[in-house]
């Protein structure tokens, strides 16, 4: 996972344009509280757009009947492995348009790898354990980051060009969970005020 992040970060650095400056984005909820784990993506217009370097290896494990991490950001073309670290079986699936797949993971330490070749949000589930849920954001822009506990995401090398800025969160009340705005050339900060719904409580199947 760490190697993958380093590789992804190196890809971001190599792809950074020369005319760049920091852009800080803040995401808050309706009450003004910071929203963490929102995924913010900058799509510069025209030639300033940059896709991340494809490839890299990432991990979404299953442990204690949960996915870890709950949220992953990977570039288009990434390979994500799904090791089962639980002593029970998992049946991992996704029906998201960005990637449809299912993995039958039999036993502890068994793993399968999935290649993600299309940008979008991939919602993960386990057909055996309904309470398991996680998300993979497959991005085609090098300027993609998640907000921290202060609701902040910063692009140190944002291009000095007009751009479209999006924010996605799994519980954001908006079509597809995404809100967006335009940012002008030279704009150094932006903010989103979003409405979140509570995380869905897992529904027991009674048996």
């Amino acid at each position: 996972m760490v190697r993958g992040l380093v590789s992804f970060a190196a890809g971001l650095a190599l792809a950074a344009p020369l005319a760049a400056a920091p852009l800080s984005v803040r995401v808050v909820d309706a009450a003004g509280h910071p929203v963490r784990d929102a995924v913010v993506t900058l799509y510069p217009a025209g030639n300033a757009a940059r896709a991340p370097r494809p490839g890299g290896r990432y991990v979404v494990s299953q442990k204690n009947i949960q996915f870890h991490p709950f949220l992953s950001i990977v570039p288009v073309g990434a390979d994500v492995s799904f090791p089962n670290l639980d002593p029970t079986k998992h049946h991992v699936y996704s029906f998201s348009p960005a990637k449809r797949f299912e993995l039958k993971l039999f036993a502890k330490d068994q793993s399968r790898t999935v290649h993600f070749d299309k940008a979008g949000v991939v919602a993960l589930g386990c057909n055996i354990h309904d309470q398991m849920s996680a998300f993979i954001v497959v991005t085609d822009s090098v300027w993609t980051a998640r907000t921290n506990a202060q609701g902040m995401a910063t692009f140190g090398d944002a291009p000095n060009a007009p751009a479209r800025l999006t924010a996605w969160h799994p519980y954001l009340r908006a079509p597809a969970g995404i809100v967006q705005q335009n940012v002008g050339a030279g704009q150094r900060s932006a903010s989103f005020s979003v409405r979140l719904r509570p995380p869905p409580a897992p529904m027991s199947m009674d048996y």
Partner: protein, 424 residues
């Protein structure tokens, strides 16, 4: 009873046979019969201090699992012990078989649940699943796990005590679950059989609060029957099919669950065993046409605090119609509110409930009506495989017909319990 049990076993052998046959078409790598994952063992030891009347388990009118003769009685007990086997035949087909031992007064052991589970890989956002066999319908908001233990206390509410003792049919159940935007929906429907005597105990004894569940083919004692002595057997088999031919008069149940995009879940459940109230065995066990509706609510109140509530209302008929009234026409209802909250490794739960029956039959009239309430507070602490629980429960009820038995119409009972629960 013997004939009914034989019919049940023979007819039930067909779906079980189909399931076993399906094993032969299973890739060996997907099957798991006897690994550690397929076995669970649980049990509890408890110390019970109780006053009030003799327990219904001993043939009395007491509403708790243990009783006394009016004085405070303190006894150590083996509560419940269960062994759960959950073999997996394929990725989608499995089984759950539960053997239980019910300790305390009238200790007995036997089969608790036995059903096939089918949960194919969802092809869309709609998930389908099914169960087939001997099982509790999905009513209780207090029980969890295949061993059907009570989650936050030792003693369940009157509603779910009754479900545990009299409402466990042989059923074929299908469930569809779907996500529509931020809303989650689930619909369950089942056809069922072998639950024709449901509400016998509830009518003759009244509501009760205990965690003693019925074992397959075992019988539950009834209190003194008064004018029904000789007409009704002094016991009831909750798992029995009285009508000619197994499942020739099937009942059904259905459930709807809605979870909107707020931490609240609503449930509606309807049950109708469609038993013929004029069916009777040579042992004088009657068909009881019992139907009820149950509404459930689960709400997360923040900080881990959870509110759960159920309200059940039903009606049962038994016997022949004379002068426009069936021998027994009993309307029963109960409701409870349970609030639980974790405090680190500790948990606290409080529950308040009310219950009652309303008789308008030809033989049993309003003099047999019951009104009551109970309050419970329980605490627990988890220690890995162990859970320690303490519980204080008070129940008060009034039934005018108890005077015929030489008892006071108003019965009060207080019970304190300390339990060590184990699970592997």
């Amino acid at each position: 009873m013997a004939c009914a049990a034989k019919r049940l076993l023979v007819r039930s052998a067909i779906p079980w046979g189909c399931a076993i046959a399906a094993l032969w078409a299973t890739p060996a790598s997907a099957a798991d019969f006897f690994s550690a994952d397929t076995l669970e063992v649980s049990g509890d030891l408890r110390l019970v201090a109780v006053d009030g009347p003799e327990s219904w388990v001993d043939g009395g009118f007491g509403k708790l699992r243990s009783g006394s003769n009016g004085d405070l009685r303190v006894t150590p007990q083996l509560g419940n012990a269960s062994i759960v086997w959950k073999p997996e035949f394929t990725w989608s087909l499995g089984a759950t078989i539960v053997g239980s031992l019910q300790g305390g007064e009238r200790t007995e052991a036997g089969l608790s649940q036995a059903y096939l589970t089918f949960k194919p890989m969802r092809g869309t956002k709609i998930a389908a699943s099914g169960r087939l066999g001997l099982m509790w319908p999905p009513v209780s908001l207090e029980h969890e796990g295949a061993d059907w233990h009570v989650r936050d206390s030792i003693t369940p509410s009157a509603i779910n005590s009754w479900i545990g003792e009299e409402v466990r049919p042989v059923a074929a159940e299908a469930t569809l679950a779907a996500t529509l935007g931020a809303h989650q929906l689930r619909a369950t429907a089942a056809v069922m059989a072998a639950n024709d005597t449901a509400a016998t105990l509830l009518t003759f004894r009244g509501w009760a609060l205990h965690d003693r569940t019925t074992l397959a083919f075992h019988r539950q004692p009834l209190p003194p029957l008064g004018e029904f002595t000789g007409v009704q057997a002094p016991y009831t088999h909750p798992l029995i099919d009285l009508h000619e031919g197994f499942a020739h008069r099937p009942g059904y149940y259905a459930k709807l669950v809605w979870q909107p995009p707020v931490p609240v879940r609503f449930e509606l459940f309807h049950y109708d065993n469609r038993a013929n109230p004029e069916d009777v065995t040579l042992d004088m066990e009657w068909g009881w046409h019992t139907r009820f509706d149950n509404a459930g609510l689960v709400a997360q109140l923040g900080g881990g605090t959870e509110l759960r509530a159920q309200a059940l209302s039903g009606r049962t008929h038994m016997g022949f119609v004379e002068e426009g009234r069936r021998w027994i026409d009993n309307r029963f209802r109960s409701a409870f509110v349970l609030i639980s909250r974790p405090f680190g490794p500790y948990g606290l739960a409080v529950r308040a409930e009310a219950f009652g029956t309303h008789n308008r039959g030809g033989w049993w009239t309003d003099e047999y009506d019951e009104r009551g309430w109970s309050a419970m507070i329980a605490g627990k602490r988890d220690f890995g495989h162990f859970t320690g629980l303490v519980e204080l429960l008070h129940v008060s009820s009034r039934n005018g017909s108890l005077e015929e038995q030489g008892l006071a119409p108003r019965q009060r009972q207080t019970q304190g319990q300390a339990e060590l629960r184990m699970r592997w």
